[in-house]
Symmetry: C2
Subunit: 301 residues, 2 copies
């Protein structure tokens, strides 16, 4: 039987592997590590890169925390008094060049044990891409890679999880998707008709796909030219990223509500974000074109 220790160890090794691949692709930046412990139980390793050649600010976090489940969360999950164990890897990367997209990935495992001894577990995760400028060929490439990963495990996964990402990575008060979406999944357990081992294998494939996908864009887009106009737009789009993360993201909310380590949770925020009242891009500009593509239900492939 697959135990939490094995899953935890694998997430740690995923963090190591991704950091190495990103450092190699960046060629200049290195990750600074902070090990931390949580008062209620467990801890993590936060790794942050700043001022790389390509990555301006990014974090690759591993954590494994445990303790008593707060009453409101137990209730929301339909459980009585319970303890929990949660482990995972969480990544957000903000590139310097506006032609390189922002990326996010999270893979996680969650376990609860009730006082009566009954227990539940599930996997969750997702990857989504937020280009400052949407290039439809890049979008197709990104979604094709994710579909390939999904198809190896279940022919229905991509379609289901792509829709889930559209609904999740959505900035409701702007009526915009955060970017071009990707995949999102949660509460994946034996009720899906798969064994724990099969579901873990899927999560491993998702985790392993991250570095090849993003280093592809780092290599391809980081030498593209840009000027003040593109930088200005990047900062406004980063403002939208901040809005999504602080207003709508459930992971951020959960972290801040449960007294998580603030600096690790908010490593997702960009180095700089701007807001302009009623900013409207010039009609038919590249910026207007991107805005026009930020809607749900697009078939990018």
């Amino acid at each position: 039987m697959l135990e939490k220790e094995e899953i935890t160890k694998w997430f740690q090794s995923l963090q190591d592997s991704i950091c190495l691949q990103l450092q190699k692709a960046d060629g200049q930046g290195t990750f600074h590590e902070d090990k931390w412990e949580r008062v209620g139980g467990g801890g993590g390793r936060t790794r942050v890169m700043t001022s790389g050649r390509i990555i301006e600010k990014g974090g690759v976090n591993f954590s494994a925390v445990d303790g008593e489940l707060a009453e409101n969360i137990s209730k929301a999950l339909g459980l009585g008094h319970s303890t929990f164990y949660a482990t995972g890897v969480s990544i957000v990367l903000h590139p310097e060049n506006p032609m390189v997209p922002i990326i996010h990935m999270n893979v996680r495992y969650f376990e609860t044990t009730s006082k009566d001894g009954s227990s539940t577990w599930w996997f969750g995760g997702g990857i989504d891409l937020t280009p400052h400028y949407v290039d439809e060929n890049d979008a197709r490439y990104f979604h094709k890679q994710l579909k390939k990963v999904c198809d190896q495990h279940d022919p229905g996964y991509y379609q289901e999880f792509k829709k889930w990402a559209d609904d999740y990575f959505y900035i409701k008060h702007r009526n915009e998707t955060r970017g071009i979406g990707g995949i999102f999944f949660d509460r994946m357990n034996e009720k899906r008709g798969k064994s724990k081992e099969e579901l873990f294998a899927f999560v491993q494939s998702v985790g392993e796909s991250f570095a090849p996908i993003y280093t592809h864009f780092m290599a391809k887009n980081s030498l593209m030219k840009y000027g003040e106009n593109e930088l200005k737009w990047q900062r406004l789009r980063r403002g939208r990223y901040v809005e999504f993360n602080l207003v709508w993201d459930q992971g951020t909310k959960f972290g801040l509500d449960t007294d998580g380590r603030t600096e690790s949770i908010l490593m997702s925020l960009p180095p700089q974000a701007n807001w302009e009242y009623e900013y409207k891009p010039i009609p038919n500009s590249e910026e207007a074109k991107t805005l026009g593509l930020l809607s749900k239900g697009k078939d990018w492939i």
Copy 2:
């Protein structure tokens, strides 16, 4: 009897008066007005100044909206199916010079009418100051002005509403107050042992105190010298302002949840905000001194 029309009209005139006083004190910036209508009922006048001599980005909003109260909000207020009417003025000003504080004020009136004909009403509001650098003389001045306004109406108001502001303008995940606080009050109606006229008179005094208080700081602090170091700190503190407004502010949450006009609600966000992982000011620096003062329960007077 004081009716909502009279209150509404007064809030409109307050917006006019404050805009004129701020323009005069700025000497360069002017307010751009957007009139808007709400699908569910009512509308507003959003006035925004950008690139003033002193005010880099600021908004002075008036709104008067009405409609059906959403079921979850009716429930939270302990009411059955009801209609509501809400009007008020809401202000946030971000100055260019880091030595000038950010300020916020809100004064509002709320009325509900249940299907059975019963109705409730209340006033609410607050002013709070967020200096990038806390100057204790400025803080004393600010709180003395607010105490003077409060004392004209009730000897207990200042102490009660000062504590309320400490608790409200608090960034829980940072364990910091947003700034040096001020006053905050809500649900003020006949249950406070005052007439509607008396409570409105208090709200009017609060509203009228805003421009004299802030133009004092504009005149006094806007010629103070600053350099790259102060600008960097200003941008980081603006980041904290964004965190408060998007994560904790009930007014922002209410607005975004009830499909308010996003650009008017988010006029409170700064022109630029920065985030640095694990930024710690140099010990004994002015920045460190300010951080050390951002805690609840300080008697500034």
